[in-house]
């Protein structure tokens, strides 16, 4: 066993967006001690949104947004342990063991392990032509099947599945989407938007089926068949599985940190061990703006929660309290969602929702709680500010395109 150095510094487990941004912010906010980054993938931290978007749309090139180039890590003296997986945390010794036998000590540990796609829980769910999308390799491997005429079956009509469906369609594939529930993107958007997007996909030739249970994946290695509960068999060239993710919280569970569908952290990003912080998809964090504990699967959260905890480790006192924000790109329509989708909220339409150019606003009483923008990025941003103010707002003004949201925001702020 290696002995503990005098000042082991900060160790980050997870080389994704959250891990990378945490390190960038540690150095940016004056932390000068040792930093070690542990990541299972062989790559430096990169942003994942493109994996289900640009990477699948343009299969001839790669648009990878690296958090920082390789020379930055060298210049900032960050020790990189990539292609190595942390297997356990000894909180008493403040040490992390890796699958290659290495032991890494820490003063402060950051868990940024993210979330992993759920596998299809049926016989044959591990068929080699079943693809999930989390890593660069996943995306590279899936897109080799996006050729004209290929039969692509997408299981799950969530954001990832629909983005993959839109990309496959653009390459001339025959795309079938199978969804267990009754509408698309049901967790994130109200029925009005679900209907609009179902129609959008169908207008591009996607076969979209609801209420479909899958019982098995059969067929030889290069010719999978999706077996449905109603007896239908659907042959495919590739299957995209987009049925949600599970937080990678196993290390935290095993070392006794509080975990509740994600590692529990407070508004400062601290776990129940003061030497351990967590950030990104893996956390269930308290958001004081809403008075709720949230687990978010989003780029914004991965970046900004990581920055907040890095600043706290660097000696500041930062409360992470942001209005959630998320986006999806399908068929050239940019959808952005901000706030918390609230089932049963009353809705207001601003602009031309049917024409994919406007805002759908969700109100609880006279409070704006969520906004969904379709190709309406600037208005969406003002709506986000209005949500974060947490004050009553006149629904008639929100609905009136003659009232600029910039002016409305100014009026609300000056009250």
């Amino acid at each position: 066993m290696t002995s503990r150095p005098m000042m082991p510094g900060v160790v980050v487990i997870g080389a994704g967006q959250a891990g990378g941004r945490a390190i960038e912010a540690l150095r940016g906010h004056g932390f000068q001690g040792p930093i070690t980054l542990i990541g299972s993938e062989p790559h430096l931290p990169y942003e994942r949104p493109a994996l289900s978007k640009e990477m699948l749309l343009d299969t001839a090139s790669e648009t990878i947004a690296w958090v920082r180039p390789a020379d930055w890590y060298a210049a900032e003296n960050v020790r990189l342990l990539l292609g190595a997986t942390a297997t356990s945390i000894d909180r008493d010794a403040r040490a992390v063991s890796l699958n290659n036998g290495t032991v890494v000590f820490y003063d402060t540990l950051i868990l940024a392990t993210g979330a992993s796609p759920r596998a299809l829980p049926v016989p044959g769910g591990d068929h080699p032509r079943c693809h999930t999308i989390r890593t660069l390799e996943d995306s590279r491997s899936l897109r080799t099947h996006f050729v004209p005429g290929a039969r692509i079956v997408v299981v799950g009509a969530g954001f990832i599945g629909l983005e993959a469906a839109a990309a496959a369609t653009s390459h001339g594939c025959a795309v079938t989407v199978l969804e267990a529930g009754s509408r698309v993107m049901a967790r994130g958007v109200p029925p009005r938007i679900s209907s609009l997007y179902a129609a959008l996909h169908r207008s591009h030739g996607v076969e979209l089926h609801f209420g479909v249970g899958i019982t098995a994946i059969t067929g030889p290695e290069n010719a999978p068949v999706v077996e449905c509960a109603d007896g239908t068999s659907i042959p495919a060239d590739a299957i995209v599985v987009g049925i949600g993710v599970v937080p990678e919280d196993g290390l935290a569970v095993a070392c006794g940190l509080a975990v509740d569908g994600g590692i529990v952290v407070d508004e400062h990003g601290r776990t129940t061990d003061p030497a351990i912080y967590a950030a990104g998809d893996v956390t269930r964090h308290y958001n004081p703006l809403f008075g709720l504990s949230l687990r978010l699967e989003s780029w914004q959260n991965a970046q900004n929660q990581a920055i907040a905890i890095a600043r706290n480790i660097a000696g500041q006192n930062i409360v992470y309290a942001e209005v959630p924000w998320f986006w999806s790109d399908q068929y050239g329509v940019n959808m952005q969602i901000t706030g918390l989708p609230t089932p049963g909220a009353t809705t207001i339409e601003r602009g031309d929702i049917d024409g994919f150019n406007g805002l759908l606003l969700e109100m609880t009483g006279n409070r704006l709680v969520c906004a969904i923008g379709l190709n309406a990025t600037r208005d969406l941003r003002f709506a986000k500010q209005i949500i974060s103010l947490g004050v009553d707002v006149d629904p008639a003004k929100l609905a009136d395109p003659g009232v600029k949201l910039a002016d409305l925001l100014r009026e609300l702020k000056s009250r």
Binding site: R21, W299, I307, W325, R378, R381, K404, A406
Partner: protein, 111 residues
Amino acid sequence: MTDQPAGSRLVALCDVAEVTEDTPAQVDHDGEVYAVFAHDGAYYVTQDLCTHGPGNLSEGYVEGCEVECPFHQGKFNFITGAPTAPPCTDALRVWAVTVQDGKICIDPAQA
């Protein structure tokens, strides 16, 4: 006869009336897309495309002399072009502005 330095070739991008502090303008001129900003009675021109990803800064959210990209909410100072919030790390190109006859003009060659 003008007071311009030799070699300067000003082109008009838009009318000052087309730009407010809240709403920058997007101008496509000769294959280059510009974002035009107003702040404290002056005008500023940057490249429209964010240096981090495919976001149009003219669609961005303006606060003071900063613009927030609508794509990833990174920020730039539109006077200097410097990135001021992650994920942006590379500066924008900026052009010096001359206002002539109510028009916002730049020399495209002088980024």
